[in-house]
Amino acid sequence: MARNIITLIAATVCASLSTWNLMAQEELKVGEFASLTGGSASFGQSSHKGTALAIDEINNAGGLLGKKVKLITEDDQSQAGQPATIVRKLISGDKVVAVLGEVASSKSLEAAPICQQNKIPMISPASTNPKVTEVGDYVFRVCFIDPFQGTVMAKFAAGKGWKKVAVLTDVKQDYSVGLAQFFKEGVSKGGGEIVKEQSYSTGDKDFKAQLTSIKATKPEAIFVPGYYAEVALIARQARQLGIKAPLLGGDGWVGESLLPVGGAALDGCFFSCHFSADDEAPVVQDFVKKFRAKYNGTPDDMAALGYDSAMILADAIKRADGTDSAKLRDAIAATKDYPAVTGKITLNEQRNATKSAVILGIESGKFKFVESVAP
C-alpha cells in the first residue's frame, strides 16, 4: 500500500514536471519574492509596489536589450521555509535572470544560499542585517546595514546631549535585536550610558510593565528599534505613564498606522530611515509623482527601496549588455554613484550600498526632515 502511494506521488511529481519546459523565452524575466500576505505583508506590499512601478517604467521606455521585462512575483506569505521553495521555483522553473527581495533579513538569509548556489544575482531592497550579503558574492543590497543605522542614531543621541539612554527591543525580530546591539555599542563609545534594557515580542499590545521599569531609571531618551505597529502603542503608553523622554528608532517605524495610532504621543521623537518623500531632490519628487499617479498614495521607504533595487538591476543589465550571470554579477558589483531615489548608491566590496541615512523628526503629527548623515 505504502509503495503504491509513493509511486502515485512520483507519478504526480513527474506529471507536473512536464509543464515547466514549455516556457517561452522572448521576454527578459526578473523574479521577485515578497511577503504579500501574512504578518509582514505591509512591508512586502510596499516594496512590491515600488518594484512593479520601476518595471513598468522600464518597459514604457522600451524595455531592456530590446526585450520587454517581465516581473514574476511570488508571495512567501511571511513564512519561514517558503522563500527557499519560491526562489528555487523562480530560478529553475521560470528561469529568471536575477532575483529581487526580500525586506525581512530572515527571509533573505533563506533565499541567498540558493541564489548563490545557482549563480543568479540577488538584490535585496531592504534587508539591513550584515549577514545577508556575507552569504556570497552573488548577493547584493541597495540599503545601508544595521551597524551604520545603529551608529547614526547613537551619534544623534550624543549630539543632542542625551547621555542616559534606555533600550526597548523586539526580541522576535532579528532586525530589532541587531539594531539595538549596534546602538548600544555606539552609545558606549560616545561616552553615554545604557540605563535599562527591556524587551517585548511582535504582536504585544501592552508595554506598561516594561515602560514602568524603564521610567524608574529616568532615561533622557529611549531607543525603540521596532516596527511601527508596536512603536505607536509604546509611545502612547509611555506618555500615559508620564514618561517625557523622546523615543528614538530606525526605519521600521515607517508605516501607515504609525501616526494615526501614535498621535501626539510621538511628537518630539526621531528615527532614521532611507528616504523622505519631502526631499526636494528632483529624482525623489519625480518618483513620488509617478508613484502617486499609479497607486494614489505617498511612497514610503520600502517602496523607494523596491524601486531602486529594480532600477539598479536594470542599469547593470544595460552595462553588462546581456544577461550572462557572471557578467551581470560583475556589472551589479561595479555600480557606482547611481542616482537612486534613496540617495547616491555605490556598492562596496561587501556588496552593501554605501549611502547616507536620513533622520526624520515628528512634529505635530507630521514627519519633518532633520538631517542627512553621510557614511
Partner: protein, 346 residues
C-alpha cells in the same frame, strides 16, 4: 495495515535511492523533499493522534527541537571531527549522527511533554501541547547560541561539482528523505500492528476498559509521545539540513495545525491515507500558487487561492462535518475510536 511491512520497507528504500537519479529541476526537488518531510511528520503525529487517540497540537515544537539539535551537531560538533575532509562517507556519518541527535533531542522533549500529559485528556491535552510548542519557540527565540530571532545558518554539506564549478550541496537529499520516510512508516506500522502495539489502539478505543484489562495506559501514551517526537525530530533535522537555515518563527502553531490537518484529512489512524494527505497538502500550496497566476480567473478567486489558510480552515470544517473519519479513513476504525459514553455527551 500494510501487508509484508519489511518488503514494503525495502521497496521504499530502493525507491528512495532510485529517486535520487530522477531528473527533477531544483524547484520540483524542493517540493519532493518537502513531501518526504511532511510524510515523516504526519505519520509520526498519526501515532499520537490517530492510533493512540491523544490530541497533540505541539508537533512543530518537537520538529524545532530536532532541527536545532541536529544543527547543533553539524555546526558545533562535526567540524572538530571532519576538519577539511571532503569524504562523502564521513560526511554521511556526520549527517546521520546529527539526525539521530535531532531525533533523540526531540524524543527527550516528547518524554517531558508526555509524562505530565498523562493526567489530561482531549481538549486540555491539546492546549497543553500547544503551550509546550509555544514555550519551545519562545526559548529558542531567546537563545543567543542558536542565533535567537536572527535564525541559524547551517553551512555544511556535501562537496560536489555542479555544471563545472565546485559547490556545497545540502546534506538532505531525496534518497535520505524518502529512506527515512520509509523507515518511519515501517516503524510506526509495525509498532501498531504488533501484539504489544495493540495497546495503543486500546488506549484510543476505551481507556477505562483498557485499564481494567490490566493495560498500562500511561506507558502507551508516553511511548506514543516519545516515538512520535523522535520522528518529528528526524523530520526537523532533514528540514534544517535542506533549507540550511532555521528560524524559530518557522515552527509556530500554524505548522502544528498543518500536520494535524494532514492526519485528519488522511483519516486518523490510517497510515496510507495520511501519507497521501501529506503529499497532497504539500503540493497544494504550490498548485494554488499557479492557480493564483491564471489571468482568466476572477480576481477574488485568485486572491483566495493566494490565501491558503482560508482554504485549509474550510477544508477542516467541511471535513469534520461530512467525513470526520478523513478522506481515506476506515469508517469502522473511527466508530470504534469513539467510546459510547463520549458519543452520548453533548
Amino acid at each position: 495495515m500494510i501487508p509484508y511491512p519489511r518488503l514494503a520497507l525495502l521497496a521504499g528504500i530502493a525507491f528512495a535511492i532510485g529517486l535520487s537519479w530522477a531528473p527533477l529541476n531544483p524547484y520540483l526537488y524542493d517540493i519532493a523533499v518537502g513531501i518526504g518531510i511532511s510524510i515523516i511528520l504526519a505519520v509520526s503525529l498519526n501515532l499520537v493522534n490517530g492510533h493512540t487517540g491523544q490530541f497533540s497540537l505541539g508537533h512543530a515544537g518537537f520538529m524545532a527541537v530536532g532541527g536545532y539539535s541536529s544543527a547543533a551537531i553539524t555546526n558545533l560538533v562535526a567540524p572538530h571531527f571532519l576538519g577539511s575532509s571532503t569524504s562523502a562517507v564521513l560526511h554521511s556519518l556526520a549527517f546521520l549522527s546529527a539526525l539521530l541527535a535531532g531525533g533523540f533531542g526531540a524524543a527527550l522533549a516528547g518524554l517531558l511533554v508526555g509524562v505530565p500529559s498523562l493526567r489530561l485528556k482531549g481538549d486540555y491535552l491539546a492546549i497543553v501541547t500547544l503551550g509546550f510548542g509555544e514555550i519551545i519557540r519562545v526559548v529558542l527565540q531567546n537563545t543567543e547560541v542558536v542565533g535567537a530571532s536572527r535564525g541559524w545558518s547551517i553551512a555544511s554539506g556535501y562537496a560536489k561539482t555542479v555544471n563545472g564549478y565546485a559547490t556545497i550541496v545540502p546534506y538532505t537529499n531525496l534518497a535520505w528523505t524518502f529512506a527515512l520516510a520509509a523507515i518511519t512508516v515501517y516503524v510506526v506500522t509495525s509498532l501498531v500492528s504488533s501484539t504489544y502495539g495493540r495497546g495503543f489502539l486500546t488506549v484510543r478505543d476505551d481507556e477505562v476498559a483498557a485499564e481494567a484489562m490490566g493495560i498500562n495506559t500511561t506507558r502507551f501514551k508516553v511511548t506514543a509521545f516519545v516515538v512520535g517526537a523522535f520522528f518529528a525530530g528526524i523530520a526537523g533535522g532533514l528540514y534544517a539540513h535542506f533549507k540550511q537555515y532555521l528560524n524559530p518563527s518557522g515552527f509556530d502553531f500554524m505548522l502544528s495545525v498543518s500536520a494535524v490537518v494532514m492526519v485528519i484529512l488522511g483519516g486518523m489512524g490510517s497510515t496510507a491515507g495520511v501519507i497521501l494527505a501529506a503529499a497532497i497538502l504539500t503540493m497544494l500550496p504550490e498548485w494554488l500558487r499557479s492557480v493564483a497566476g491564471y489571468a482568466w480567473l476572477p480576481p477574488w478567486l485568485r486572491e483566495i487561492a493566494k490565501n491558503r489558510m482560508i482554504l485549509y480552515s474550510l477544508l477542516l470544517i467541511v471535513l469534520m462535518l461530512t467525513r470526520p473519519q478523513g478522506l481515506f479513513g476506515d469508517v469502522n476504525a473511527t466508530r470504534r475510536a469513539v467510546p459510547g459514553r463520549l458519543r452520548r455527551k453533548a
